[in-house]
């Protein structure tokens, strides 16, 4: 998965597990950033339906000067309340509005902004408080008219920012069942070292929900000089984006009533926390920690910021997956098997951005600091007809220029690792024919029903309609 349960530590802490981060230019000179948490939710997850962690600090970071450190940060903190402590039910009747008294357990959140750009002060400022999350999508009796109910949870702020936090259908698509079965790609599995008949890909997340934190921000709030760049080749047109989640350094569990805030608030009722926030999850480029960083170092990667990613660069330069493909698919990747040089193409795509002069009319280079961030050139407007392969398909508005909800990042990265992008830095190299064909076979439009407006991520699957497996 992009980053669902991608590391041993965070796989045991789904509330803080950042599954995917997306960043793309949206109409009105805005950027929309989506960070998802709580992976692989079964929609029928009652009676204790999924929710954000009151004890987790969720952050969206933006780097405007290429040093891999946050210059603008949005912080989201959640608070859960229980209306009726004497029932086991999530709701005691239809929830028809966000203040419906029949909704028993709800969350509100606060958004703050820290602007460390030059001359901005760097102080944390609360920009929204008491913003309601929508309920989970339970079913037609409990959450009728879910679309309009959830739409009311979009909060527009006076400065042009919009925020949303709540359950959504997971926009990420991948054939997990096959790719982690010794790198099987069902459409090509007859060529696998352990062959079976070719088959269509199976989208493992087609019925799963996540919890989305989405924010839409005027571009001028995120650029180095506060402008709205129009020249894609200008250095100030590129921003770096990643999401992160943190927990307090110490947690003490004790008896209910002796510690904590009261009854019925989950871990918060049993626990006291203290000390500074410690990062436990982050995500910039999809699949970076998942398939690039070795298992023994994944937890460390999650605890660090992008500014420290030079220590992981050797795994990008010599990716394990590039060595596995020729072994798993004998004869399909002879040129890749002979490619032993460091992968300057992947180092650029994932850690520094693509410099000018490589792809005509495009760059998202942020400098020599190696940092895993989504690099978004905000001077490139949204594509009228997005190509699922993004830059690889000639669509300058798609991954790895930021990341859109529809970008087929599994295929893009698979093909890049397989050698399809190496000619960008070594014109004499001829990619294997398979490099431009491999995919997991899960993309078939429309992969997900998305919304036409913010927060764009599609409505969550109903628990009634998609019973637990």
């Amino acid at each position: 998965m992009s980053s669902h349960r991608e590391a041993p530590g965070i796989s045991k802490d789904p509330v803080a597990d950042n599954t995917d981060t997306y960043a793309f230019v949206t109409p009105g000179d805005t950027v929309t950033i989506v960070t998802n948490y709580l992976p692989a939710q079964s929609p029928a997850g009652g009676p204790n339906f999924y929710e954000f962690g009151d004890d987790v600090l969720y952050e969206v970071h933006v780097d405007v000067d290429g040093d891999g450190r946050p210059d603008v940060t949005y912080r989201f903190r959640f608070e859960t309340t229980v209306t009726n402590p004497d029932t086991f039910l999530y709701n005691t009747g239809p929830v028809t509005a966000l203040d419906s008294p029949t909704w028993n357990r709800r969350q509100h959140y606060r958004v703050s902004r820290i602007d460390r750009r030059p001359g901005r002060g760097g102080r944390e400022t609360v920009i929204a408080a008491g913003v309601p999350c929508p309920p989970c999508n339970i079913g037609p009796r409990s959450t009728p008219s879910y679309g309009s109910l959830a739409a009311a949870a979009v909060r527009a702020l006076p400065d042009g920012t919009k925020v949303f936090a709540g359950q959504r259908a997971d926009p990420f698509f991948v054939d997990l069942g096959s790719v982690f079965d010794l790198g099987t790609l069902r459409p090509f599995q007859s060529l696998h070292l352990i062959p079976t008949a070719d088959a269509a890909g199976v989208d493992s997340l087609a019925g799963a929900n996540v919890h989305t934190i989405a924010i839409q921000v005027p571009i001028s709030h995120l650029t180095r000089d506060g402008s709205v760049p129009t020249d894609p080749m200008a250095a100030g047109s590129v921003i770096g984006v990643w999401g992160a989640a943190s927990r307090r350094k110490a947690t003490i569990l004790d008896q209910v009533g002796k510690l904590g805030r009261g009854l019925g608030l989950g871990l918060g009722a049993l626990a006291s926390t203290a000390g500074p926030w410690v990062q436990v999850s982050r995500l910039g480029n999809p699949l970076f920690n998942e398939v690039v960083v070795p298992m023994a170092r994944k937890d460390r990667w999650n605890a660090l910021g992008p500014a420290h990613d030079a220590e992981f660069a050797r795994y990008v330069a010599q990716p394990e997956l590039a060595r596995l493909l020729p072994v798993l698919y004998p004869g399909a990747f002879p040129n890749l098997a002979g490619l032993t040089a460091d992968r300057a193409d992947l180092l650029a795509i994932l850690l520094t951005g693509i410099p000018a002069g490589i792809v005509p009319g495009f760059q998202n280079f942020t400098g020599t600091t190696q940092a895993d961030m989504l690099r978004l050139n905000v001077a490139i407007p949204p594509a009228a007809a997005p190509d699922r392969l993004g830059l690889l398909g000639g669509d300058l508005a798609g991954f790895p220029n930021g990341r859109r909800l529809t970008d087929d990042v599994v295929t893009i990265e698979l093909r890049a690792v397989a050698g399809a992008t190496y000619p960008l830095v070594a014109p004499g190299y001829t990619p294997d024919g398979a490099a431009s064909l491999v995919e997991d076979g899960t993309w078939s439009p429309p992969v997900r029903p998305l919304l036409a407006t913010f927060p764009y991520v599609g409505l969550p699957h109903s628990g009634y309609a998609v019973p637990a497996a």
Binding site: K249, A250, I252, K258, R261, G268, S272, A274, G275
Partner: protein, 90 residues
């Protein structure tokens, strides 16, 4: 590193207490830290402890302790305090 008195420790702690969310009973560790010549806590000082307040013994050999209070981490060294804590734990 300086030795930190219990009173100074509480004062520092109160500076970072804005983010505190719970109630924690005065830990035995804090009592063990009391110096014989130090006056009893005032009621106002006791109120500082009405929050999560954790002392982490980081290194027995150097006597390095870390006070976690609010969203702050305060690192200090107090070999005598560490010795008293360890003896209290026996």
């Amino acid at each position: 590193m300086r030795e930190i008195t219990r009173r100074a420790l509480l004062t520092r702690g109160s500076m970072g207490a804005a983010g505190a969310i719970g109630v924690l009973a005065v830990p035995n560790v804090a009592m063990a830290a009391m110096r014989p010549d130090e006056p009893e806590l005032t009621e106002a000082e006791r109120q500082v402890l009405a929050q999560p307040f954790v002392v982490h013994l980081r290194d027995v050999a150097t006597g390095e302790l870390e006070l976690l209070v609010g969203e702050e981490s305060i690192v200090f060294t107090d070999k005598k305090l560490v010795a008293r804590v360890l003896r209290a734990a026996r």
